[in-house]
């Protein structure tokens, strides 16, 4: 019964020839070539990659594993030696038979120097330390040293390396070169040019990854200034990745600027919900308030990037008008606050009293696999007609999917939605119109905007609406259930390519809101008589046994970056 579970859609790369190098005395075998970050073609392995494999940290600014190498900051200078060759082109040996190493009289930048067989890399010598100190001192001569008001403080490479290699006092007595401050670089970014260390990461990202050759360095020497073309806004849907990439506080997000000191943020692993790509993210929150999303590396999904529209789509979580009460309503004539227990009991009673085939469910493809699965269990028992709402817009070539639902595949795999999302909505509307459908459960959608208008809703005996923010449907519902944002619960989504990814809870739900899965668990137990699980782990594992495409998956086995399943064609 179990379909094969593929962790990675790609075949394993062919075995690469290795060669041996020593990093600070530790001998390791490293691949002779590594894939180029842009083309994927094999290119010679560099010293910094060998050091990373040897778990040796080499300080660096301009180098980034996902960008083309620039080699401009010089922070990664190391010393090295290679096996000495005699006039006969044979290796010269030490008396003990080991190869004699000829130490290079000059250092090399580890980020751009290929390794060679027998090479020895030294990262802890007094010379290397002196070079790091020297490079850092030069990088700081014109720097404004305004850490107390800098957004990058706490996650700044200048600060970190200054702790390791900085001078206690400045020897620079000359006047500093002043550069533009608070440059409005684009709709989402403010640039402080005095903090920029000219590493060109942002330039390379926007040119080579985002495909928008928008940034450059103007002027010369100590007047070098990072800039967009005068009068042209830096505005593509990926600009905020440059804020993450900037090793210092030069590029800042207008949204996050001066909002919170980063060291107060609690970081939670999560997934973006704004399209079917499901970029992996870290949610930064403090005292139950979400302050930012940042991309989290997952090479099977989003590399190290995310789009600006997804990144900034979090304000609704903290919206003032969130639904916070469980309500029983008599539409048009007010209502009252009730408890979850009462709601579960009354709704279960109504469902059990309903004639099979008279119940319909509209669930959102923004809900988790587990919630959709529980709803599918109800649907099975009640012989309910079900569907979700499609959200198709225009995608791009990098990450953004045309499908703006995070879990259309989950909706299909659990059987809640037909192959063509939304194709049952009309049938549901017709059923209500004809009076054959008397009960409607709506989860996370405003059906009045999708063909089931207020006039139809008024005909229902029972309308249950579980929602996060109020809308027309919740207004007309007999029962309103306050729902949770993904940031307030745990669960999984199945992305557009079939990657099942889990997300963790970052903040507490608002008011009486509680994870939909918990309430649905009680409802399913009351209607089907079989609880089936006691925790999100148990629920997931139960679902994985029941849904063929998920067979073999476990909550724990998903790890932090998910597992790709084979989607039924």
């Amino acid at each position: 019964m179990s379909a094969p579970v593929a962790t990675e859609p790609k075949p394993a790369p062919p075995a690469v020839e290795t060669l041996k190098v020593k990093v600070d005395g530790l001998e390791i075998a490293v691949p002779k070539t590594m894939p180029d970050p842009l083309t994927g073609k094999p290119v010679p392995t560099t010293m910094i990659q060998a050091c990373t494999l040897a778990r040796t940290d080499v300080p660096h600014y301009c180098y980034h594993p996902k960008l083309p190498v620039a080699g401009n900051c010089r922070m990664c200078l190391v010393e090295f030696g290679t096996p000495a060759m005699g006039p006969d082109r044979k290796p010269v040996l030490n008396p003990d038979g080991t190869p004699k190493i000829a130490k290079s009289p000059r250092p090399a930048i580890a980020c751009a120097t290929p390794i060679s067989p027998g090479m020895e890399i030294y990262t802890t010598t007094p010379g290397v330390k002196a070079m790091r100190e020297g490079v850092l001192e030069f990088l700081l001569i014109n720097h404004p040293l305004d850490c107390p008001i800098c957004d990058q403080a706490g996650e700044c490479k200048l600060q970190e390396y200054s702790v390791d290699y900085g001078q206690a006092t400045s020897r620079f007595v000359e006047p500093k070169v002043h550069k533009p401050k608070q440059v409005d670089l684009g709709p989402r970014i403010v640039l402080d040019d005095e903090r920029c260390i000219l590493c060109t990461r942002c330039i390379r990202f926007t040119k080579d990854i985002a495909g928008d050759d928008a940034l450059g360095i103007v002027n010369r020497g100590s007047y070098n200034t990072l800039s967009a073309y005068p009068g042209k806004a830096f505005d593509n849907n990926y600009t905020l990745n440059t804020v993450d990439l900037c090793p210092v506080g030069a590029l800042t997000s207008k949204d996050f600027r001066f909002q919170m000191r980063v060291w107060f943020l609690k970081e939670t692993k999560s997934v973006c919900t704004s399209c079917a790509t499901g970029c992996n993210i870290v949610i930064g929150a403090r005292e139950e308030k979400v302050y930012r999303y940042e991309p989290r590396e997952n090479d099977a999904v989003n590399s190290s990037w995310m789009c600006d529209s997804g990144r900034l789509n979090y304000k609704w979580i903290g919206a003032e008008n969130r639904l916070t009460e469980i309500r029983r309503q008599n539409p048009g004539a007010g209502g009252e606050k009730i408890t979850w227990t009462t709601a579960a009991k009354e709704i279960a009673d109504r469902l059990l009293a309903a004639k099979p085939g008279t119940v319909a469910i509209v669930a959102s493809a923004r809900q988790t696999n587990e919630e959709l699965f529980l709803l599918s269990q109800l649907a099975k028992k009640l012989n309910a007609l079900t569907d979700s709402v499609p959200r198709i817009q225009i995608g791009d070539k990098l990450l953004l999917s045309a499908d703006r639902n995070p879990n259309s595949n989950g909706a299909k795999l659990t059987g809640i939605a037909p192959a063509q999302l939304g194709s049952n909505l009309r049938k549901i509307a017709e059923g209500i119109g004809k009076g054959t459908i008397k009960t409607l459960l709506v989860f996370g959608e405003d059906v009045t905007r999708h063909g089931i208008g207020a006039d139809l809703l008024a005909k229902l005996d029972t309308l249950v609406a579980s929602e996060i923010l109020p809308n027309q449907t919740t207004k007309l519902a007999h029962y309103v259930l306050p729902g949770c944002a993904h940031a307030e619960k745990r669960g999984t989504f199945t992305n557009g390519k079939g990657r099942v990814q889990k997300f963790m809870k970052a903040v507490e739900p608002r008011g009486d809101a509680r994870p939909e899965g918990e309430f649905l668990h009680e409802l399913v137990a009351a209607v089907n008589g079989n609880p089936g699980f006691t925790s999100i782990e148990g629920l997931f594992n139960w679902m994985a046994r029941e849904i063929p495409a998920f067979n073999g998956l476990t909550w724990g086995g998903l790890g932090d970056t998910g597992v790709t399943i084979v989607l039924p064609s």
């Binding site: 050759d213 940034l215 800039s227 073309y229 009068g231």
Partner: protein, 161 residues
């Protein structure tokens, strides 16, 4: 007013581009040609060149701002260049530059090309003019002057009509 390039300059640029396997390699030569023709390189010119070379304007703008000999504003009628590099600096070129600026009412400490309000003179403090043995050296338009004293500078400026 839309930026336009006369036919002969257009032909020269087409010719320049043909010299290189990649269009963008012609950038510097085109910038020289454009400055030669107009006397300076406007933002419209930068955009025109970028479009011609299938580049983004920022790529051309980087070059224009990197090389001090490219002007982003029109220069005065007479352009004075004083050498600031080592031999001339030792030979008193900073004093000479200061003197010239003071005489013309310009700020000697400002960065880049400085032009008098009446548009008659521009002064630039430039790198080596390749006559290091006869420091300090100064150029006035296309004329070269060696071992320039303050008095000699006054005389040179005085001859400019």
């Amino acid at each position: 007013m839309a930026f336009s390039v006369p036919a002969n300059l257009e032909a020269e640029i087409t010719e320049l581009i043909s010299h290189y396997p990649q269009k963008r390699s012609a950038s510097l030569m085109i910038l020289h040609a454009v400055q030669e023709h107009f006397g300076w390189i406007s933002q419209e010119a930068v955009e025109w060149i970028a479009a011609r070379l299938e580049l983004q304007p920022i790529n051309v703008y980087e070059l224009v701002t990197f090389y001090p000999m490219f002007r982003r504003e029109p220069a005065g009628k007479h352009v004075v260049k004083v050498c600031r590099t080592l031999s001339c600096a030792l030979g008193g070129s900073h004093e000479l530059h200061g003197h010239v600026c003071q005489k013309l009412g310009l700020d000697a400490h400002a960065h880049g090309l400085q032009t008098t309000a009446d548009g008659k003179f521009s002064v630039e403090f430039v790198e080596c003019l390749a006559s290091c043995g006869t420091a300090p050296v100064m150029m006035c338009n296309e004329d070269f002057h060696q071992a320039v004293t303050a008095a000699k500078a006054d005389e040179i400026l005085g001859k400019c009509a």
